[in-house]
């Protein structure tokens, strides 16, 4: 079995499509037309002849059937169905989605379109992606997020995006789209009342793609480096030497997508009972549940309520669900992959803890410590301020929630407008640190902060090596962490200085806003809608830098590491 599984990825493996090439081309063209129709009709609100709608509906059904005809025969050999699933899981999932979308709303064509886009030779495409990532990491990363933001801006400008039928202004559309693509969650408009469900769906798709996108890049990074996630995983895959480059990435991405789908579906189901109380129709409640679940898992922090989640302050179900999703999304897929496996469920937590990599242990410890300290800090500082008048249970719950949300999610269950200055400075720090690498969260990352602190400790103890849990952290990693910190701090300070010039808001609020944008958090003391256009642009750029900056930086370092042909003599510099 393992032999076969590896073998199917060999160049002479069976084809992944059962249709002739001309039919593939026809499918791609038809889906393109269909998507164009959808955009014209739903986006621009132009009245097209009724017959066209009927044609579109039939075309949609036809395309879904065509996709089914193409994919299902791949499963005809029941002896190797696991192998077929392994190879065609992505198409199969999309087929299911397309079928559901067709039956419910008649727009399964969108999923067929998506499938056509990523179809041509997935492993080869992923291999090319990894190669490109190794060659031009910055360009690739920067371009993908910029493209996402620009496409989103275009869609939000459409009249159908807003309830007043005007579309958003250019600056606001750009800000909202960038905020969603970078999974930040800062908004200059009230998503729930200003945007229509179409507009909300655009935002939803943007942060979903942004969240998965960033995880894909991390996975691509791991693959480009030839880093295996765990030894256990390597064994289970029985790697052969001539493994195609995209293979491992395909495996990782499969895990990422499955984790995302399961987490978001579970979250939606858990949130549904509470949303059903707030919305009139099942459809709306379902959409709201999915919106908040996806927003939480992607650490976006967009909500449909004007007061964010303050209305659910005392609701344990909503709070715990959102907290769980935020932590799971922010911990990083590599860590999740190590702790959430069939094997680890059978073993004791202690055995799992001993079996995981140093990276996972460090990320988990750092996250745990940050949440603990932040909970205590919020409870103590805000006891008589933001938390005043609440029952003790709610106070604890709200403290925990507010402590988790700077893992760059950006939801809040307590009004942040009147926080104590000391809380603001703590939260600025927490937002700057952010989540763990490999997740949907932003910031300089928990492990970066941890490595730097460990390094300061070793400096004070007079040691050369930076050690953690019986392992030495390589010098070059410490070096990278320092570089990420210095560059991030510079970006933050420059943006903050610029904002001080363009805005007339209080110092503390602006600092909070800047850190929130850099860490792609989305918490705000409420000044975002009051910003000038220049201020909005500064924040947009900062969100973008905060999203791609630290990762780009590490990617660039990995890709371009080389020894200089010249070595200069050493000079000593006094510091301090």
């Amino acid at each position: 079995m393992p032999f076969r599984r590896a073998n199917v990825l060999h160049p002479d493996s069976p084809p992944t499509s059962t249709l002739p090439a001309w039919m593939e081309t026809m499918m791609t063209t038809l889906t393109g037309l269909l998507v164009a129709y959808f955009l014209t009709y739903h986006g621009l609100l132009i009245h097209l002849p009724l017959q066209l709608g009927v044609v579109a509906r039939w075309l949609d059904g036809f395309l879904v059937v065509l996709l089914a005809v193409e994919i299902l025969p791949l499963y005809r050999n029941r002896r190797i169905w696991r192998q077929s699933w392994y190879q065609n899981w992505f198409d199969t999932v999309l087929l299911a989605a397309a079928l559901a979308a067709n039956l419910l709303h008649g727009w399964g064509g969108v999923f067929v379109f998506l499938r056509q886009v990523v179809h041509h030779g997935r492993h080869e495409a992923l291999g090319r992606f990894v190669d490109a990532l190794a060659r031009r990491p910055i360009a690739l990363l920067a371009a993908s997020f910029a493209a996402l933001a620009v496409a989103g801006t275009g869609l939000l400008l459409l009249p159908a995006a807003t309830t007043d039928g005007q579309g958003l202004s250019l600056v606001n559309a750009f800000f909202t789209a960038a905020s969603a693509a970078c999974v930040t969650g800062l908004t200059v408009i009230d998503i729930g009342s200003v945007l229509t469900q179409f507009g909300q769906t655009v935002v939803l798709v943007l942060f979903q793609l942004g969240g998965i996108g960033i995880m894909t890049f991390y996975a691509g990074l791991a693959s480009a480096l030839g880093v295996r996630l765990t030894i256990a995983q390597r064994k289970s895959l029985t790697m052969t030497v001539e493994q195609p480059r995209g293979f491992e990435l395909a495996h990782t991405l499969r895990y990422v997508l499955i984790l995302t789908i399961i987490a978001e579906l579970t979250g939606t189901a858990l949130l549904y009972p509470r949303m059903a109380e707030k919305f009139a129709t099942t459809d709306e409640a379902l959409f709201a549940s999915a919106f908040h679940a996806i927003s939480a898992f992607c650490n976006a922090g967009f909500g449909l309520f004007a007061d964010n989640l303050v209305g659910f302050q005392a609701d344990w179900l909503v709070n715990l669900t959102i907290i769980g999703l935020i932590v799971l999304g922010g911990i990083g897929f590599s860590v999740a992959h190590e702790i959430i496996t069939r094997r680890s469920l059978r073993r004791s937590p202690r055995a799992t803890w001993r079996g995981i990599t140093t990276h996972s242990r460090l990320a988990l410890t750092a996250t745990g410590i940050l949440i603990l300290i932040a909970t205590l800090a919020f409870f103590l500082f805000e006891h008589f301020n933001a938390l005043a008048g609440l029952p003790i249970g709610t106070k604890v719950l709200a403290s925990v929630f507010q402590a988790v949300t700077p893992r760059t999610a950006g939801f809040n269950t307590v009004s942040l407008a009147s926080l104590q200055p000391v809380t603001i400075i703590c939260w600025v720090l927490l937002m700057f640190i952010g989540a763990s690498p490999g997740g949907t969260g932003g910031g300089i990352k928990t492990t970066t902060a941890a490595v730097l602190l460990l390094s300061v400790r070793s400096q004070f103890r007079g040691r050369d090596d930076v050690e953690y849990g019986g392992r030495t952290i390589p010098k070059v990693t410490v070096f990278r962490a320092a570089a990420v910190l210095v560059l991030s701090a510079l970006a933050l300070l420059i943006a903050f200085g610029t904002l001080l010039m363009t805005e007339k808001q209080p110092f503390a609020d602006l600092l909070f806003e800047t850190a929130s944008a850099f860490g792609t958090v989305g918490l705000s003391t409420g000044i975002t809608p009051l910003l000038t256009a220049a201020g909005k642009l500064v924040l947009t750029v900062l969100m973008y830098v905060g999203r791609i900056g630290p990762l780009t930086f590490v990617l660039a370092m990995r890709a371009r590491e080389r020894t200089s042909p010249v070595a200069y003599p050493t000079a000593q510099i006094m510091v301090g």
Binding site: H359, E467, R560, A571, V575
Partner: protein
């Protein structure tokens, strides 16, 4: 000295020495004969004042000119002078005792490397250089200032003011015997330039002064090579860039609402930028009246501070320079950190960012605590704490209204700001507890 020093690390000796001076001078200041009102003064205030003086900060909770008698003022002046050059003279003794006691020739070589300073035999000479250059520079400064002020006040008062402010400028303390600090010099060219030059000389570091003097002597005599060291180049370059950027930003943000003439505005902007960068803390305008971006710029300048081995504070210009060079190396994908065609050892970078991080953490914690107990605004407290950490002494005017708890916190911050960076610098010497084993390497993802 060497017997006492034997068991202790240089850092321990320094901390104890500084703490003793603070204690003794605080007791002297608290006595009735130091106060113009002839009563015992609150001890916490005296500790604050002497901590401010020994760390050459310049934050004050009393009006030195009005509240202190001549005796009290002289105590302050001596403490400032000790704080300014004390540990530099102290250094040869400490290092000397270490060397004589227990170091082999090879360790001396290592020490020479890691300190980037002359060997022990040169140390005494170096101490002499420090004292001589201090006396010469301060005398020249005092003479110019006294000559300038003698036009408007009696000669003895002018000389006293000249000496006091010259010492305060060179030692980057920034205390004044006048209640309005330096507001009275306004845009007058002579005192502005004299103070700027004194501050720059004090903030650039004795090693750089020594280096420049030695190499220019060589150059005059035509002896090769006469290049200054990489350290001096870095310190001079970074100081130039930082002061330049600071001046331009302050100028740009203050220009729209400045009531001064064009030249006066430039001079004032330069004065404030130099005052913050060298961590002196004189102010010729009201800081609290400045615009938010200018204040933010001053905060950044105060945090960066002067050059190492100087009378100033902050994380130091070279620390910043090394970090930027490290960043540059990373961006260019180079393994080596290079500057001016020299390679910078990894250890130096490690110290540089450890120091910055430790400083940032300390400041953040103190800011957080003060935000809890003080009614002042966010920006006022941030300014005050960074000013204390950088041993600057600029204030937005809240020092006098702080609670005792905050005064103690600020005293500790001034103390830490003076000795913390030094301690980390010193930790490069004599690492005795190196473990006998090393752990296996394992990768951690960052960023």
């Amino acid at each position: 000295m060497s017997r006492i020093a034997k068991g202790a690390t240089p850092v321990q000796i320094l901390v104890t020495g500084f703490a003793l001076i603070v204690l003794v001078s605080a007791i002297l200041l608290a006595m009735p004969f130091s106060s113009t009102r002839h009563v015992f003064q609150p001890f916490v205030d005296c500790v604050f004042m002497t901590a401010s003086a020994i760390s050459t900060t310049g934050l004050v909770v009393a009006d030195i000119g009005k509240d202190y008698t001549l005796f009290g003022q002289l105590v302050m002046l001596i403490v400032i002078q000790i704080g300014g050059i004390g540990y530099m003279c102290f250094l040869p003794l400490v290092v000397g005792s270490l060397l004589r006691g227990q170091m082999s020739i090879s360790s001396r070589m290592i020490l020479r490397e890691s300190m980037a300073r002359p060997t022990w035999l040169d140390m005494v000479k170096f101490a002499r250089v420090i004292v001589v250059s201090t006396v010469v520079i301060e005398t020249i400064g005092a003479a110019i200032l006294a000559w300038h002020w003698s036009a408007t006040m009696p000669l003895d008062a002018a000389i006293y003011a000249g000496v006091w402010h010259s010492i305060n400028a060179f030692c980057t303390a920034g205390m004044s015997i006048w209640s309005d600090n330096m507001m009275r010099i306004g845009t007058l060219i002579v005192p502005n330039l004299a103070l700027i030059l004194l501050e720059l000389a004090g903030g650039i570091g004795f090693f750089v002064l020594y280096d420049i003097a030695r190499q220019s002597k060589k150059m005059v005599r035509g002896i090769h090579p006469h290049q200054i060291t990489t350290h001096s180049r870095l310190a001079l370059t970074v100081t130039g860039i930082v002061v330049g950027i600071g001046t331009v930003v302050v100028l740009l943000t203050e220009w729209p609402h400045s009531s001064l003439s064009a030249g006066g505005t430039i001079l004032t902007a330069a004065f404030q930028a130099v005052s913050a960068e060298t961590t002196t803390g004189f102010n010729s305008v009201d800081i609290a009246a400045m615009s938010a971006p200018a204040i933010f710029m001053l905060i950044v300048l105060m945090f960066i501070g002067a050059s190492p081995n100087s009378t100033g504070g902050g994380i130091k210009t070279t620390t910043l320079g090394v970090m930027v060079a490290g960043l540059w190396a990373v961006l260019k994908g180079r393994e080596d950190i290079t500057m001016f065609r020299r390679r910078i050892p990894y250890k130096v970078l490690h110290s540089a960012f450890s120091l910055t991080l430790a400083a940032g953490l300390w400041c953040t914690i103190v800011i957080g605590l003060m935000l809890l107990i003080e009614p002042a605004t966010f920006v006022q407290i941030v300014f005050e704490v960074v000013s204390a950490f950088g041993n600057v002494g600029l204030s937005m005017g809240i020092t006098n209204s702080l609670s005792e708890m905050s005064r103690l916190l600020l005293s500790a911050t001034m103390f830490f700001g003076r000795l913390g960076p030094l301690a980390i610098g010193f930790s490069l010497i004599g690492r005795s507890d190196a473990p006998l084993h090393r752990f296996a390497e394992e990768e951690v993802y960052v960023g």
